[in-house]
């Protein structure tokens, strides 16, 4: 890893929550992950109502601050603003990026995209980073075929903002994602379902560190 990459404002491993996949309380999982070195957390719980999501986001804000980690909220800008999250992750069915930047220029905005056009558009609109997927087969998107590593390669040649690969990401395939142009990886089930989260985080970090991306 080069010095400039070390100084980059993002670390390379993103945890995305999914309570339904976890056997343990979400706050414990995130707490353990942060302790193990995860510094990017996205709260993504699509079935929760505003009240429950706000309560969970408030608790996660406390945990992430304690560990110096960044907290992002999926889709719900109001929840992000209310708990002083660091940013939002906007699916393509969410707000336009510019609308969020107009409301609060300090808020980091990530955009979930599935193709090159979406990626180019998101970067043009001022997104700070992209979450690109799904790259591999995943239980969270059973109906759509995976996009494959070549999507990362395509997008990374046209995009200068950090790209996180998502969808079926494990410590075993994370390295390939980075080798194909991803800045980092976003993991859902690998972390949510891990029996030993600090071990899994270490495995991820080993897999994506010192990759020659040149």
């Amino acid at each position: 890893m080069t010095l400039s990459e070390n100084q980059h404002k993002f670390s390379r491993l993103f945890l995305i929550t999914d309570q339904a996949l976890s056997n343990r309380p979400l706050l414990d999982v995130v707490s353990d992950a942060c302790r193990a070195g995860v510094s990017l957390v996205q709260l993504r719980e699509k079935t929760l109502d505003g009240k429950s999501l706000y309560a969970l986001a408030s608790a996660l804000r406390g945990i992430t601050l304690m560990h110096g980690a960044r907290l992002f909220i999926n889709d719900r800008l109001d929840v992000a603003l209310a708990v002083n999250a660091d940013g939002v992750v906007l699916p393509e069915t969410s707000f336009p990026v510019q609308v969020v930047k107009h409301i609060n220029p300090m808020l980091l905005v990530g955009r979930s995209v599935h193709d090159l056009d979406g990626a180019i558009d998101a970067q043009r609109c001022g997104a700070d980073f992209l979450i690109v997927g799904h790259i591999f087969k995943t239980a969270s998107k059973p109906k759509q075929p995976p996009r494959g590593l070549h999507l990362l390669k395509d997008i990374s040649t046209h995009i200068h903002i950090p790209i996180f690969a998502v969808g079926g990401i494990t410590p075993a395939n994370a390295r390939q994602c980075v080798q194909n142009g991803a800045f980092g990886v976003a993991a859902i089930s690998s972390l949510m379902q891990s029996a030993d989260i600090s071990e899994t985080v270490r495995a991820f970090q080993d897999a994506i560190a010192f990759v020659n991306t040149a």
Partner: protein, 209 residues
């Protein structure tokens, strides 16, 4: 500047009817004389809801009407609506206030006097009280409050009250006679053959007492 809550509120609903979009229903209601339009949809994506909100906001400015977004303080903020209406399972009032500031309206749903007092204490600008009558538009966990309890709430709180739930052409007068500041209807307009005419008829009943 905070807009006053008074008169007839029409809540847009595209679940009980599919003839009109949210924006179309909003415009017909405004043309019929609605004072307030509330955008409510629990199923649309944020992108779609935002697009509807922007459309209704433009109309509400053109017609000089109040525009409220149900549930989503972010949509209210992004579309520059006049405020947000929060149900019991939505964001806490204080959280919405932090985002929207003091110039926007925050309404809160209450179905008991205690709920109403709590909402007032938490900083709501108005209470959405109900459901007054039985209604088919939502699954209800509590029995209808009736007009008598509405009178009690009006005595108990100082902020404006909007009566909601099962209010139609036939019973709206009995609700209005309580002295309630505002009355909200859903199916009475959305499911009417001509929403504009239905709004006008309801509005006629809500002349100052």
């Amino acid at each position: 500047m905070k807009r006053p809550i008074s008169g007839l509120c029409v809540i847009t609903d595209t679940a009980i009817q599919q003839r009109f979009s949210h924006v179309q229903l909003a415009e017909l209601s405004m043309q019929g004389g609605a004072d307030i339009v509330q955008l409510r949809d629990k199923t649309l994506s944020t992108k779609e809801l935002f697009a509807s909100a922007v459309g209704i906001r433009a109309l509400s400015l053109a017609y000089g009407k109040v525009f409220i977004v149900n549930d989503r303080a972010d949509i209210a903020l992004a579309s520059n609506a006049d405020g947000v209406h929060l149900g019991q399972t939505d964001l806490p009032i204080a959280a919405a206030r932090k985002i929207l500031g003091n110039d926007k309206l925050i309404g809160a749903t209450a179905s008991t006097i205690d709920d109403a007092l709590k909402a007032e204490q938490d900083g709501a600008d108005y209470i959405g009280f109900g459901h007054i009558f039985s209604t088919s538009s939502k699954e209800k966990l509590t029995p209808p409050t009736g007009v008598a309890m509405l009178r009690d709430v009006l005595q108990a709180v100082k902020i404006p009250v909007m009566a909601i739930g099962g209010i139609n052409q036939k019973n709206i007068e009995s609700v209005w006679q309580t002295g309630v500041q505002s009355v909200a209807v859903i199916s009475a307009v959305a499911s009417a053959e001509t929403p504009k005419a239905a709004t006008a008829q309801l509005k006629k009943i809500l002349t100052p007492l």
